[in-house]
């Protein structure tokens, strides 16, 4: 009986992240539009776009290989699994121990690997430029993320997200320089990984500074829908990650009552809304940077992560 319940909660989480991710994207667009005094598209616009793309036929380039057709499914699957492994409204779900934070980041790495390969498949310069820049950004964002994981794991004693969240809720956390550094670095990595302003611009299609959109330029129809959905899922994943580690209040403990789950879900939606609004304000206030400034941006995140780890030793005199 308990197993069935756990399975239900786990499935509910998988469906929840899938269902909420276009909403977050829509919310960001809406807030951004309101901030520049436009009306903006309705909140359900991303859902409509997905449905429209799903109904359309796929136009494949003559020399597209099977990898090009399989990649959207693989990218979607790895991103979805990664997003479902991050605690959203409850910790200690049935399968949460099957992958720790390092594995979640590596799953996102798999998604990027296949997307970058798909970008190179047809052999266009847009696909190439997108893939080349994407791997350049990832080659700095991933180590920065690993350093953030190190500092969190050294504090909490585990790379398991549920354990980290439980540690952050416990009374002996306190205010720490390391945590502040990790938070800033995590936000920077999240911005870079999700191709947001100032690293990349998700709204443009034909500008030479673009990265992610250039890589997926040859995609159409249902393939494009899956890729857009994966991008939305990835954004949701980073928001949930920040929420789970730095604002863990409201997360339902393992084996909680249904009311605790409801409370967790409500607080999760509230956290997502706040995160999305903050991202929209940030994006509106800042300008896109040149692509070769991105390494300095991410290098700063990497250094923050490393410094945060080293600070732990200094502040505690060695754990």
């Amino acid at each position: 009986m308990a197993l069935i319940r756990d399975l239900l909660v786990q499935s509910a989480e998988m469906i929840l992240v899938l269902a909420l991710s276009p909403f977050v994207t829509g919310l960001i667009r809406k807030v951004k539009a309101r901030l520049v005094r436009r009306v903006g598209p309705p909140l359900i616009q991303p859902y409509r776009e997905l449905v429209r793309l799903l109904r359309k036929e796929v136009v494949l380039a003559d020399n597209a290989s099977w990898l090009f057709r399989a990649a959207p499914y693989l990218v979607f699957a790895t991103t979805w699994v990664a997003a479902a492994l991050v605690p959203t409204f409850a910790v200690g779900l049935l399968f949460s121990w099957s992958a720790d934070l390092i594995a979640i980041v590596a799953l996102l790495g798999s998604a990027r690997f296949f997307l970058a390969l798909a970008g190179m498949d047809v052999g266009t310069s847009f696909g190439g430029i997108g893939a080349s820049r994407e791997v350049m950004i990832a080659s700095l964002a991933e180590p920065a993320m690993i350093m953030i994981i190190f500092s969190l794991a050294l504090l909490a004693g585990s790379t398991q997200l549920s354990t980290i969240a439980a540690y952050m809720l416990s009374p002996h956390v306190g205010l720490r320089v390391t945590l502040a550094m990790a938070l800033v670095a995590l936000i920077m990595v999240g911005i870079a990984e999700n191709a947001r302003i100032p690293v990349d611009n998700p709204a443009t299609h034909l500008e030479l500074t673009m990265v992610h959109e250039a890589m997926v330029l040859e995609y159409s129809g249902r393939h494009l829908a899956l890729i857009e959905l994966s991008a939305a899922l990835k954004l949701l994943l980073y928001l949930s990650l920040i929420a789970c580690v730095f604002v863990p209040w409201g997360l339902a403990p393992p084996g909680a009552t249904w009311s605790a789950y409801t409370l967790g879900a409500a607080s999760y939606v509230a956290k997502l809304t706040a995160g999305a609004a903050a991202l929209a304000v940030f994006e509106t206030a800042i300008a896109k940077m040149r692509v070769f400034r991105v390494p300095s941006f991410l290098g700063a995140a990497l250094m923050l992560g490393l410094l945060g780890t080293l600070f732990l030793f200094v502040s505690r005199g060695g754990l």
Partner: protein, 673 residues
């Protein structure tokens, strides 16, 4: 059954391999003989592998065997303990895979007589290094291994590049053996006990032990490809035929790692804590520099060779961590790090062999090793492309493949570093962790580039657009290796369990049995800490992809239509306008290359109105080669020029020189006493 049976069987196998190489020298010239010899070496390697696996699982059967060979007062000692057995499994598995691959691949060899005899002897030599139980036999087998691999590097000696590669390799191999000779000299001490037992009993004093470690790093590290002694590796590994490249990169470097482990973990005695620091720094630098070199290289096999340098760095970081933990008497942490390193040894042997096999197949089909002239091979060589995709995913440390499992273990070991009491280690270990994370991320970039340029995109030459799929033997072994990469990634627990005798022998303990943990998770330390389950992750990804595909095809559209390339409405007609290997790594070159390699891009624009082409040239400065190797070479040249006068003296001068030397030596001895 006696307790020395596995070692006797192994020696019998080696002897058969050696006689096979004699047979191969005779029949190798005929077209029929080549596959037969490879079949035989496949069978023998397979048998040796099974024998070693048996020895690994039965650590009680580790009696030494003494043969009356070699120096009369020593004899030749052989023994298979768990450590040797593990490396024997890896070596002979690689040998068996390469032999099977060569049954098909070897048919295209222009001069099989120059490859076959040395191939079998090379396999035997690697086995003998791992089997030997005294310093004399070890060094003799080591040198034999170097020479046989040198002969294979020189198989196509007409090409000037290969001749240079062979020359540099021979020099570096001599340096390595020289360092190991001194190592064993110091280890055996003034007593001169050359058996490993005698060395273990006679622990070297502290300053000597440190010197031994440094010399071992030079000796074994130069063979493994540690920076800055890696210079020969990217020249020599690609020069050999591809199945030999696979063995040299996937297996011979592991024999070098065995030498390091044997000396640093077993023979020296209890380690000092800062030895780990030294190994960690060297390993971290090797990992980062190796992958950066690989990213800037356009020759397919050299990319793989440089990536070997990176992986060796990765393994040495694990070993360095283990030494550091062992120096502080943290046995569990030392075992985690050590097991992670050995697991990566196994994994690297799998996927690097696969990648070299695939690039050999590509080279065979197109006659090209230059990535800038390849492309689109996923259409022409579909099976090779599938297998290589598995290999690229594994080496890029993507879950659920095996590369990720060993990377994950290493990171878990890095996270144990707060236990260490020394501040030097506390600060260096996270920094090395950052280097490791950086090199792993760059390795993924490197293999996106490798696969994307070679197998995807449009063909960049006629040879690439008319290539055809490789033979059935090569395809079989490549698919099998790709499958094993996946299998080792989703069931890592069984492999870690197989290594328990090794840690039992070296550290006197072992990690918790992984295969008895629920759902076959990987939990190296304790339940409260971290876990990873490759099997579940794999099943989840497959299930999610299947659900997505079913839902989309069932409820949405399944229609598709082929059309010309879109590329925003104006696709370039020429395939040469695509992104190339050089342009793909340009952003990374700008970020990392300017600092470490002095990369410079120069654009020459024609004057306005002129019709000449604009040129973009990239210059990379190999800092290590220019600052370390060239001055040494220059010094040797100057010294030999100066000493040249000595060649033309009279007999009287020579006699007086000899006399003077004798007097000086006698004086030195007199003063020494």
């Amino acid at each position: 059954m006696t307790a020395s049976m596995p070692v006797a069987l192994s020696l019998l196998g080696c002897a058969t391999l050696l006689s096979l190489s004699v047979v191969a020298a005779i029949v190798g010239r005929s077209r029929v003989g080549t596959p037969l010899v490879y079949w035989a070496s496949f069978g023998l390697s397979f048998g040796l592998c099974a024998n070693a696996a048996f020895a690994l699982l039965h650590p009680g059967l580790a009696e030494p065997l003494v043969l009356p060979l070699g120096l009369p007062w020593i004899g030749a000692h052989f023994r298979i303990d768990a450590l040797a057995a593990f490396f024997l499994v890896v070596t002979n598995f690689g040998g068996a895979a390469a032999s099977f691959y060569a049954i098909g691949y070897g048919r295209h060899e222009k001069s099989p007589g120059r490859v076959l005899p040395f191939f079998a002897a090379f396999l035997a030599a690697m086995n003998l290094v791992l089997l030997s139980d005294d310093a004399f036999t070890f060094l003799l087998s080591w040198e034999f291994m170097s020479l046989m691999s040198w002969a294979l590097v020189m198989a196509h000696h007409r090409s000037p590049d290969n001749a240079r590669a062979g020359y540099v390799y021979l020099l570096m191999a001599s340096l390595g053996t020289f360092a190991l000779l001194l190592t064993f000299g110091l280890l055996s001490g003034s007593v001169g006990g050359y058996g490993f037992d005698a060395i273990r009993a006679n622990r070297a004093a502290a300053p000597y032990a440190t010197l031994v470690l440094v010399l071992t790093l030079v000796g074994a590290g130069s063979k493994a490809g540690l920076v800055p002694l890696h210079a020969w590796l990217p020249l020599a590994h690609p020069a050999a035929p591809s199945h030999v490249s696979a063995i040299m990169s996937g297996v011979m470097t592991k024999v070098a790692i065995y030498a390091f482990v044997r000396i640093a973990f077993d023979l020296i005695g209890p380690p000092e804590w800062w030895w780990g620091l030294l190994v960690l720094i060297v390993g971290g630098a090797t990992a980062l520099l190796g992958v950066l070199y690989a990213l800037f290289e356009a020759d397919m096999k050299r990319v793989l060779a440089y990536s070997t340098v990176e992986n060796i760095g990765f393994i040495f970081v694990g070993l360095g961590l283990s030494l550091a933990f062992a120096g502080g008497r943290f046995a569990v942490a030392a075992m985690v790090a050590f097991t992670a390193a050995l697991f990566h040894v196994f994994n690297h042997a799998l996927f690097k062999s696969l990648l070299f096999f695939g690039s050999g197949a590509v080279q065979d089909a197109t006659g090209e090793r230059d990535m800038e002239k390849l492309g689109g091979l996923i259409h022409r060589m579909p099976t090779t492309a599938v297998a290589m995709l598995g290999g690229a995913a594994a080496i890029s440390a993507l879950p659920p493949f095996n590369g990720f499992a060993s990377e994950w273990m290493t990171f878990q070991a890095v996270l144990l570093s707060p236990q260490l009491p020394q501040w030097g280690l506390k600060l260096v270990v996270p920094a090395v962790g950052a280097l490791l994370a950086l090199s792993v991320a760059l390795a993924a970039a490197c293999f996106v580039r490798f696969y994307g340029i070679v197998f995807l995109s449009r063909p960049r030459s006629i040879a690439a657009s008319t290539a055809s799929e490789t033979d059935a033997f090569s395809r079989t072994v490549m698919l099998a290796l790709a499958f094993l990469c996946l299998l080792a990634g989703i069931l890592p627990g069984y492999i870690l369990d197989a290594m328990t005798p090794v840690t039992q022998g070296l550290f006197g303990g072992h990690l918790p049995r992984q295969s008895s943990i629920a759902w076959l998770s990987l939990v190296p330390i304790a339940k409260a800490r971290s876990s990873y389950n490759g099997l579940l992750v794999f099943l989840f990804v497959i299930a999610a992809a299947a659900m997505a595909a079913t839902a989309v095809h069932r409820f949405a559209s399944r229609a598709f239509r082929r059309a010309p390339i879109w590329d925003c409405g104006c696709p370039e007609a020429s395939p040469l306008a695509q992104y190339s290997a050089g342009s793909f790594s340009q952003p990374i070159r700008r970020v990392f290359g300017t600092l470490l390699f002095g990369a410079r891009e120069e654009v020459e624009m024609p004057p306005p109105g002129a019709l000449g082409p604009a040129r973009l040239s990239v210059r990379l400065n190999d800092v290590i080669w220019n600052t370390l190797y060239l001055p040494v070479a220059e010094g040797v040249r100057v010294a030999t020029d100066r000493l040249n006068v000595l060649q033309f003296l009279t007999i009287r001068s020579y006699l007086s020189l000899v006399f003077a030397a004798l007097v000086v030596l006698l004086l030195v001895i007199a003063l020494w006493r």
